[in-house]
């Protein structure tokens, strides 16, 4: 564990503190609203679910309810941004950016307006709602857009910092947050900057590159691997675009083995981003863990992580196997 990262003290305990990542967004937005009167919030009939109600209650005159109309959510946001506002538009990721991607492309990205897109209920942590609501393609969709930063925090504490950073960022941004509780990995002292990746655990044998809720699983896997005599480095990537190639390449050139872990489609997601980076700059044996070209299904998040092979145990096995295979 890297002491300079100031990770949560109870991180390795069984009863680690947990909280939905979206709650951090809600608190961050409220704080951003207090700091800057140009911050405004829009929602598509999911005010409490997306945690934007905290802002709406404090600043009703700066809150717009657009109804179940995600295309309009994006275009109205772009119009507000045209007048100097900093609009945070929130819905479930399945619908925004799932339904309004073209509006985001045209009115925020080509048009260069700093619309802040909040995709809540992304990934498997959406649980029982099933495949239609478990957005797994959002990272791929948003990563393809010029003038768009893609941010995937690992916990509610980091989500709060990311929200505040987005309010000061000149471009359109996408923030991916999850519904159900997940372990809190970081503290208020953990560094966060848009565009930076962080080494959360140091090691020389293999690099585990993780984002979102998978960073916790990667840290737990590193802990198990340590007992196996394998020194794994965990690089947390909260910004998938722009990707922090310097930090990643520095780690990979040392360990020469890489596993990416994400709770999203590996096609177009973090796995793709890292594969592209390595392919061009440092070809290295790579395993991409994540959702492999299929849709989700109903279940509790823990059951789904198990089913899709995205637990610390799975990561540990994959790392052991990779090192064995490559050393034969």
């Amino acid at each position: 564990m890297s002491s300079s990262m100031h990770l949560a003290e109870d991180l390795y305990k069984k009863d680690v503190t947990s909280e939905p990542i979206r709650k951090g967004f809600g608190r961050g937005l409220l704080e951003a609203g207090k700091r800057n009167s140009n911050v405004v919030a829009l929602c598509a009939d999911l005010t409490e679910s997306t945690q934007i109600h905290l802002f709406a209650k404090e600043f009703p005159e700066r809150f717009i309810e657009v109804g179940i109309a995600e295309q309009n959510l994006a275009t109205v946001g772009a119009g507000l941004a045209a007048m100097g506002k900093i609009p945070f538009i929130s819905s479930y990721a399945a619908f925004s950016p799932g339904r309004n991607w073209e509006q985001i492309k045209t009115t925020a990205c080509i048009n260069q307006r700093p619309v802040k897109v909040i995709g809540s209920h992304a990934g498997l942590y959406t649980g029982p709602d099933g495949a239609t609501h478990q957005m797994l393609e959002d990272i791929a969709l948003m990563r393809a857009l010029p003038n768009m930063a893609v941010i995937v925090p690992c916990d509610s504490v980091e989500a709060e910092k990311a929200t505040l950073a987005m309010a000061n960022h000149p471009q359109a941004n996408y923030l991916r947050v999850a519904r159900d509780s997940s372990p809190i990995v970081t503290t208020t002292h953990t560094p966060f900057e848009i565009g930076k990746a962080y080494v959360f655990a140091k090691g020389d044998d293999i690099t585990l590159v993780a984002t979102g809720t998978m960073t916790y699983q990667a840290l737990m896997a590193a802990e198990m691997l340590f007992k196996d005599g394998i020194d794994a480095e965990v690089v947390h990537v909260p910004t998938i675009k722009p990707l922090d190639g310097v930090t990643l390449l520095h780690s990979v050139r040392k360990t020469k083995h890489v596993i990416t872990i994400e709770e999203a489609q590996i096609n177009g997601g973090l796995g793709s981003a890292v594969a592209e980076l390595l392919g061009e700059h440092a070809p290295t044996p790579l395993l991409r863990m994540g959702i492999k070209d299929r849709f989700g299904e109903s279940g509790q998040p823990a059951e789904l992580l198990e089913h899709f092979g995205l637990t610390a145990k799975n990561i540990r096995l994959a790392a052991v196997h990779m090192l064995e295979t490559n050393h034969k």
């Binding site: 609009p87 045209t106 009115t107 048009n111």
Partner: protein, 295 residues
């Protein structure tokens, strides 16, 4: 600021704009013909009478905002902007060329004076609503936002999402204009996807509707004044126009929606190499004959 003109001068200016549109399209070798030609009267009226704007200060913070939601009608927007003094008219001939500020569809960041990037349909009214909401938050009630929409564009669900929101928040400084020319790429609007009862649709969405002849510049200017005076509801002006207005062989023919002069032989039109010359000859002779009803 732009010097005010008489109705007769505006009508003549609209024909100069049409002549430029034909030259631009012929030079570009592609682009849309019918919509830009039918919008020439209203667009001239907007940029030379209705809008509060200053071509020398495109980012003047007191200006009215004009949004062309039907971005494929860019040629008429560029032509009136050049005539109003936003840039040199010579630049009009760069339309759709590599390196030009006059992109095939309007791109805000490439040309000062454009308020939005448009082209993908249905996105202008929502942006107008966002702008109006921001003005409301900042207590700016003296600025107007005019949003031009095509009638075919009203097939888009996004438009009606925006129409509901504008009515909900009583954003009466948004003024919608519908270019009711009855055509879209695949045919007439009523064939492709019937819009009627269009007036009833807007009214049921909470809007006040004014219907006018979109080639009657005086009626359009009056309609805009009335729209500004109505504060309890947002107003949409349904402007009935003749697609391809001013060029006899294009008028009413949906085939001219998405093509430029000089690139294809179209039934009822001169051979392609003659199309621009015939159109220009006709527009020049019409311009000499204009006399408004007001005289």
């Amino acid at each position: 600021m732009v010097k005010k003109m008489s109705i007769k001068e505006l009508e003549k200016k609209a024909y100069d704009v049409r002549i430029d549109i034909i030259k631009m399209l012929e030079h570009a070798g592609n682009g849309h013909s019918a919509g830009p030609l039918d919008l020439a009267d209203m667009m001239t009226a907007l940029y030379f009478d209705v809008l509060k704007h200053d071509p020398k200060k495109p980012d003047w913070d007191e200006r009215d905002l004009f949004i062309m939601s039907n971005g494929h009608c860019a040629p008429v927007l560029y032509a009136v902007m050049a005539h109003a003094g936003y840039f040199d008219k010579k630049e009009l001939m760069t339309l759709r060329r590599f390196g030009s500020r006059l992109q095939g569809h309007p791109e805000r960041t490439s040309l000062p004076g454009l308020e939005t990037t448009s082209g993908p349909l249905g996105e202008g009214l929502g942006q107008a609503a966002g702008m109006a909401l921001a003005m409301k938050m900042d207590q700016q009630s003296h600025r107007w936002i005019y949003c031009m929409m095509g009638d075919g564009e009203l097939n888009e669900g996004n438009i009606w999402e925006s129409a509901m929101l504008v009515a909900k928040y009583k954003l009466s400084n948004v003024i919608g204009i519908v270019d009711r020319n009855n055509i879209q790429i695949d045919g007439t609007t009523e064939y492709v996807m019937p819009l009627e009862d269009l007036k009833g649709k807007w009214e049921s969405f909470g809007w006040h509707v004014i219907e006018i002849d979109g080639h009657n510049i005086e009626a359009f200017i009056d309609a805009c004044a009335m729209a500004r005076a109505i504060v309890e509801k947002p107003v949409v002006i349904i402007a009935h126009t003749i697609p391809g207005k001013g060029v006899d062989y294009m008028e009413y023919d949906y085939h001219w929606h998405g093509i430029a002069v000089g690139i294809a032989d179209v039934a009822g039109a001169p051979p392609k190499h003659d199309q621009a010359a015939v159109a220009l000859r006709e527009l020049r002779s019409l311009k000499g004959k204009i006399t408004g009803d007001h005289e």
